[in-house]
Symmetry: C2
Subunit: 211 residues, 2 copies
């Protein structure tokens, strides 16, 4: 089972690594990180992950996981090679998924036209510009297309996907393997729960980072 994570400059590491840590534990998983050119790809912070393959070397996959990050703003445009690759691979994928603003890459590839989808809460307008209808939920499933909300939501999405692909017992074992018994010290992880001051602060920071 080939699971591919396409990388691009200024992606957000946890968008990819959350699902990777879950899905790589599926029986028979073959994990591939790929980019337009193979080699190190820098995150929004500067850390580099290595894409072992070029996109041209990956002609298909069972599960596609597109991460988001500030870089999507320049990637998620018609004609971008990564977008064209996503469009092609999506035709025969079993699952096409995104985390955070990775949904914009799916959108630019025409995958989300007329579908409900989710993204980072601060980037709803950009998602909807691709013809998707934003759903303020953590994970949205529309046929074989699955989208997750911001950054950390990819872990929850991947556990759902693990259940659908390999059954609930396997998914539960993966949850225990990564000891995913979340205990955030605050309850400020969504717009509905955070104070309006916190929301304003994050909007300003994200505008500056162009997430």
């Amino acid at each position: 089972m080939r699971i591919v994570f396409p990388l691009f400059e200024r992606f957000t590491a946890l968008d990819a690594i959350g699902p990777y840590e879950v899905l790589s534990r599926l029986p028979g998983a073959e994990i591939v990180f790929a980019a337009v050119m193979p080699g190190p790809v820098r995150t929004d912070v500067g850390l580099a992950l290595v894409a072992d393959l070029g996109l041209g070397d990956v002609d298909g996959c069972d599960i596609l996981v597109v991460p988001g990050g500030p870089g999507t703003e320049s990637v998620a445009v018609e004609g971008n090679p990564l977008v064209e690759w996503v469009r092609s691979v999506h035709e025969h994928s079993t699952w096409t998924t995104s985390v955070c603003t990775g949904s914009e890459v799916l959108g630019a590839a025409g995958v989300l036209e007329g579908l409900r989808a989710t993204t980072h809460w601060a980037c709803v307008d950009r998602l909807e510009s691709f013809g998707a209808s934003y759903s303020a939920t953590r994970v949205v499933i529309e046929g074989k297309v699955m989208t997750a909300a911001g950054v950390s939501a990819g872990i929850d999405m991947a556990l759902l996907l693990a259940k659908l692909v390999a059954g609930e017992e396997t998914a539960k074992a993966i949850q225990l393997g990564i000891e995913y018994d979340p205990q955030p010290p605050f309850d400020s992880g969504s717009v509905a729960k955070a104070s309006s001051t916190t929301v304003d602060v994050v909007r300003a920071v994200m505008a500056a980072r162009q997430v």
Copy 2:
């Protein structure tokens, strides 16, 4: 504020990337990934992250975050260069922390002697062999030493650390920025919550992976 993640072959990516995604958003954060030799370092699954610096180029830090993974079994031994580096850096760090079996590296460096600490639930004996007393909690704070439970627990630890370093408002803003409003589809993330069958399955898998 210099935050250093020492990497080693067969570390677990989420152990590092969870805290990185939180702590890199602290005002003034300077993130450094380092290894005995600079260059790509492979995780337990095969993905490579790039260590931009060698440990010899990093003579101190404000926050040290040691990830775990199957690789700790060969790293966490007296005389290992990474262990010796941790011992040295710990002398002047503001915070010395670990995620998952990264605690064994702290243990081998003598940091945990006589302290309460946590680790991955399946690796308690190895932690205690270093003179630490295992606490079955998600995060343990002993003075300037903070240890987190398995893999995903590093996110919760980092949010606590963010609060201690930069205040609760900043930590809450980071939580909202990464949309950390966890909604796991099952409640199987700890030994106390998972079925005994699931626990047995994971113990067997982890023994085979040497996590």
